[in-house]
Amino acid sequence: MAEIKQISLFVENRPGRMAKVSKNLSDAGVNIRAMTIAEAGDFGVIRMVVDNPDKGYKVLHDSGFTVSATDVLAVEMKDSPGGLYEIVDTLGANKINVDYAYAFVTAKAERAMLILRVDDLSRAKQVLSAKGVKIATKDEIQEI
């Protein structure tokens, strides 16, 4: 399966909340691969890709956070001008909407990784694969 489980959590926008989240993950030995925060005034949503999503979810849920696991795509993109364009152009041309996206550079630094939440996951996989875009697997994310 090429979908990656992203962990999303609801947090209030006030000092110390991020620290509480990262402390919980750190204590459980869960490593964050990528993360982004979307804020909307007095609250926000933290989204992240971690090496062990099941454990990450459990740890945060058990410590009282409102957590959800969302299927997202992790695709490799060239770490050079035009890398992002190639991917989103393919999706756009196929009328697939990107709800949100964030990127990170892998340790090897040859390729960047783009995390995408789209409205039609299976078609997105299909059209990107057809274009020769490499979609990362769960194991690959774990091993980065």
Partner: protein, 434 residues
């Protein structure tokens, strides 16, 4: 259908009940006049004598009393008997002002227990039940009141009191608790704690009945509690001035039977003091017919309710008060509009995406009053899209506006952020008071 504790009294034909009430009204009026200088003076000011009270409708001739009288006569100026006849004191928590003291004779304690014995029987409890009393013991009337009532019907009492929630849940399992009595907000907290402990109240305990009161709660909260745990949740009513918790709904869950041989109830327009006809929302006024250390005549409790003396399907003839809307003291006036916390609660509990706990914060936005309702986002309602959360916020605001007729801000907060209460929940923070 459960049986009756005292079928003769509970099913007494209305005519007989009224004649019993009339006799008791006449004698209690004479009694307070003879025993209490407070009442003698109050009657003189109102130009009324005990002999003027000949029938039930003469009740309206008697002057009102209220909490302010208890405070002005602190500690025992309202008592009708000397201290050596009093076997117990309870002292109110003073949440809405100075504390008030209530005294009981041995007979008063007996009537109190009798009232609860009838009530607990009416919800199906009896010998063989284990009743966990999670109300505070001590000066507060909740713990000891329920304790005596449950013992009288032969149930086994587990007097846990308030707090040590994890231990309460362990004991509930180990000793096979079948009924719990506590505030509804504390029970909601218990459900949360049980979940964290991996205990399902529905599957891992024998609990089948809840007796919830000491704070106003809504039908919607009842539904949440019942859906979450599979128990039957009943409303209980009473106030410390009248002895403590006294009366509950019967299994019909359609109003609380107020025992007519002990109390005479009426509703009045809170502004004019005029008696209201049945079916209209008004302030509850109670006259104690069978209480001797500190009888109360036309005592204005401050709770708003509706009277119903239609015969109940359970066969009991005693009048009912429909669910308490709130205490007149709890009513918030926001931009000139009356708002009861219970109205906010009934709106929120219908929205599955918000949690069981909430808080109302009132402040000022420039010269205007501003109300914000804080709700917890549950995992059930959580989408990781900001747009969905914004829609939830709008939905809550829209529902509140349609019921309250004023705009309220909505703040989404993390679960566990709103303080959990073990006794009466502090739902309102009013920052307007200086």
């Amino acid at each position: 259908m459960s049986g009756y504790w005292d079928p003769h009294i509970e099913r007494m034909p209305l005519e007989d009940l009224h004649s019993l009430q009339e006799d008791r009204l006449k004698s209690i009026t004479r009694y307070v006049y003879d025993h209490s200088s407070f009442y003698r003076q109050r009657f003189k000011e109102a130009g009324v004598e005990p002999d003027d009270i000949k029938q039930l409708s003469d009740l309206a001739k008697l002057p009102f009393t209220g909490k302010v009288d208890l405070r002005n006569n602190y500690p025992t100026g309202m008592f009708s008997l000397p201290m050596n006849r009093v076997v117990r004191y309870h002292v109110s928590s003073g949440t809405t002002g100075k504390p008030t003291v209530v005294g009981y004779t041995k007979d008063d304690i007996d009537s109190w227990s009798e009232s609860l014995a009838r009530a607990l029987t009416s919800i199906g409890l009896g010998r063989g039940d284990v009743v966990q009393v999670g109300y505070g013991y001590g000066l507060f009337t909740g713990g000891l009141g329920l304790h005596y009532g449950a013992e009288r019907i032969g149930a086994t009492v587990l007097p846990t009191g308030v707090g040590s929630t994890e231990r309460q849940i362990e004991l509930m399992q180990d000793l096979g608790t079948t009924a719990i009595a506590c505030t509804p907000s504390y029970f909601l907290h218990m459900i949360e704690v049980a979940e964290k402990m991996g205990v399902s109240i529905r599957n891992d305990t024998k609990l089948n009945t809840g007796i919830f009161g000491a704070e106003p709660w809504s039908h919607e909260t009842r539904k949440r509690i019942e859906d979450a745990t599979g128990i039957n949740a009943y409303d209980i009513y009473g106030t410390s001035e009248l002895s403590g918790p006294l009366c509950t709904e019967c299994q019909q869950k359609n109003g609380i039977h107020i025992w007519g041989d002990f109390f005479l109830i009426e509703t009045i327009d809170p502004k004019t003091g005029e008696q209201l006809e049945e079916g209209k929302t008004g302030e509850l006024v109670v006259t104690t017919l069978h209480k001797f250390a500190m009888p109360l005549i036309r005592y204005r409790i401050g709770d708003l309710t509706i009277l119903n003396s239609e015969p109940c399907e359970c066969g009991r003839t005693h009048p009912r008060i429909m669910r308490i809307l709130g205490r007149a003291d709890d009513m918030l006036i926001i931009r000139g509009i009356n708002v009861f916390p219970s109205q906010v609660e009934s709106v929120l509990m219908k929205i599955p995406e918000v949690g069981d706990h909430y808080q109302i914060v009132v402040g000022r936005d420039g010269p205007l009053d501003a109300m914000t309702v804080r709700v917890e986002v549950t995992e059930k309602g959580f989408s990781d899209k900001i747009g969905d959360l914004m829609s939830l916020k709008k939905k809550v605001a829209k529902e509140l506006k349609s019921v309250l007729n004023i705009a309220a801000g909505v703040e989404l907060v993390e679960p566990g952020t709103i303080p959990r209460s073990m006794g009466k929940a502090q739902r309102v923070i009013d920052n307007r008071k200086v």
